[in-house]
């Protein structure tokens, strides 16, 4: 059977900034790590004490070799505990479980130019892109948006050199997205990672300028919470409360339901479930607009409910 999980040991952990922690990981048994293409992520299983079940968080690989995986994790302000665990508990020597790398954010091989637009910690997949694109001598332009106190950190991570097409901007207003997207040569692919509002703005602006959807790529991680609601499983009759700070998928897992999942960010489609009754609040990027409007399917990793009770065919 194909190996799906890895045991990883923390080799090195350091703070890049008060809220940014870099982890270097190796296989706990010293074996070679599976290869990971630029843009790939792994999902860590984090035994957070407050929750009955461990939390699973996905992080982009900043770098990946046969010996090491490297991650950068931001301590989230509204955290369910996962990023706090990474910051407070994972010291060198600690061993954690992770999935093998998956890639939902691959580089387009046909692109004539790669335009990278990241906000904050959205820099992580871009760092793996940059190494790969530099090695290929590909044409690349990067725009990193950063809070005032982190401009220096990101400049350091990117290793800025004059004339290399990399730019760090302080705050959203410092980047004119419409102008940037309007002057891109034919054959450019744009990749964006960061807050949903930034990625939506890139996507909307690109569409308005006539970019085809095939040339616009985004990486979605992390679901924002919302109002609590109740899940009812039509076959077993089981009722599960989904609280405001957890996802539907986590609630299902907590209740011991064997739910499939992969990216846990609304991108891959693996966790899709049929809806019997109730109106989903769709937050994924997998279902088409028509499928969302039909209300027959839901992606429990990010989507929620617009009603008090959502009934699933489970």
């Amino acid at each position: 059977m194909m190996q799906t999980t890895l045991l990883l040991r923390v080799v090195q952990a350091d703070l890049l900034a008060p809220t940014l922690r870099r982890l270097v990981l190796e296989a706990a048994d010293g074996a070679h790590l599976p290869p990971a293409a630029p843009g790939a992520h792994i999902t860590l299983t984090l035994p957070v004490a407050a929750h009955g079940k461990p939390i699973r968080n996905s992080y982009s690989l900043v770098a990946a070799t046969g010996q090491h995986y490297e991650l950068i994790v931001r301590r989230a302000q509204r955290s369910r505990g996962g990023s706090h665990y990474v910051h407070d508990q994972l010291a060198p020597g600690a061993v954690i479980e992770a999935t093998v790398p998956h890639n939902l954010f691959p580089l387009a091989t046909q692109a004539r130019k790669h335009l990278l637009i990241a906000g904050g910690i959205g820099i992580t997949p871009m760092l793996s892109f940059l190494s790969a694109l530099r090695a290929r001598n590909a044409r690349v332009e990067l725009h990193q948006l950063a809070a005032a106190d982190e401009v220096g950190v990101f400049e350091g991570l990117l290793g800025l050199r004059a004339g290399d097409g990399l730019h760090v901007h302080q705050g959203r207003a410092a980047l004119d997205l419409a102008d940037l997207l309007a002057r891109q040569p034919l054959g450019t692919h744009v990749y964006t990672c960061g807050p949903a509002s930034l990625m939506d703005a890139v996507q909307d602006q690109a569409r308005a300028l006539g970019w085809p959807a095939t040339h616009v790529h985004r990486e979605d991680f992390g679901a924002a919470g919302g109002e609590p609601f109740t899940l009812r499983l039509s076959r077993s009759g089981q009722e599960i409360a989904v609280d405001g700070e957890e996802t539907m998928l986590e609630a299902l897992e907590r209740a011991g339901v064997d739910a499939r999942s992969l990216c846990r960010g609304g991108a891959c489609g693996e966790c899709m479930l049929p809806v019997v009754e109730g109106t989903p609040d769709h937050r994924d990027h997998f279902l088409s607009d028509a499928e969302k409007a039909s209300g027959l399917l839901v992606m429990p990793c990010v989507s929620r409910a617009q009603c008090a009770t959502l009934v699933l065919d489970l």
Binding site: A182, R207, W211
Partner: protein
């Protein structure tokens, strides 16, 4: 020995203007598009910028880059100018081509080399259905083939013209018809006038 159902054979739809595009260029391998070239509700005037092939030694494209209408001596002439244009274009551009299949896929190759995706250009076959046939045995292109069988101009093999179209070679594949049983062949028919 029927080739029906080979999926690599391209299919085409009448041209309509892609409303999501910001700039549009129509290229033709003739001077006028044939009847039925455009989808309902679309007309030649929807493409103010048009490049056509006049197939005449006196044809000279306008030296003014801002002019919207240009006439070229040949498709080769047009394709060279098109490559220059694509190299200077920006995202939001849409390309449309109407003409014989070999012209269309020459245009498609220029578009792909410029990094355009399949959603950024539209093609419609019009005019002669004659095929460019690639001899899979000696790799020679045989032009203007209108029949189901053709003798390869280089190696003399009696080729059956398959519906198998290679976008890479911009040609239909020709395979020796009696390779299995020497002498076993088909009556010649004019299928691609």
């Amino acid at each position: 020995m029927s080739d029906q159902g080979i999926k690599s054979r391209p299919t085409y739809a009448p041209i309509s203007r892609d409303a999501t595009g910001a700039r549009h260029l129509l290229v033709l391998d003739t001077t006028q598009p044939p009847a039925g070239a455009f989808a309902e509700g679309t007309a030649l005037e929807d493409f103010p910028e048009r490049w056509s092939v006049e197939a005449h030694s006196k044809a000279i494209p306008s030296p003014h880059a801002d002019d919207l209408l240009h006439g070229f001596r040949s498709t080769s002439h047009l394709l060279i100018a098109l490559r220059h244009r694509l190299a200077q274009e920006h995202m939001g551009f849409r390309l449309y081509a109407i003409g014989t299949e070999s012209f269309l896929w020459d245009v498609a190759r220029a578009a792909a080399e410029a990094g355009m995706g399949r959603d950024e250009y539209r093609l419609l076959a019009a005019g002669s259905a004659a095929r460019r046939v690639y001899c899979v045995h000696c790799r020679t292109m045989n032009e203007q083939v209108t029949t189901n069988l053709v003798t390869c101009s280089a190696c003399g093999a009696n080729l059956f013209v398959r519906d198998h179209f290679s976008r890479f070679h911009n040609a239909y594949m020709g395979v020796q018809i009696d390779a299995e049983v020497p002498g076993e062949t088909l009556p010649i028919e004019e299928l691609y006038p």
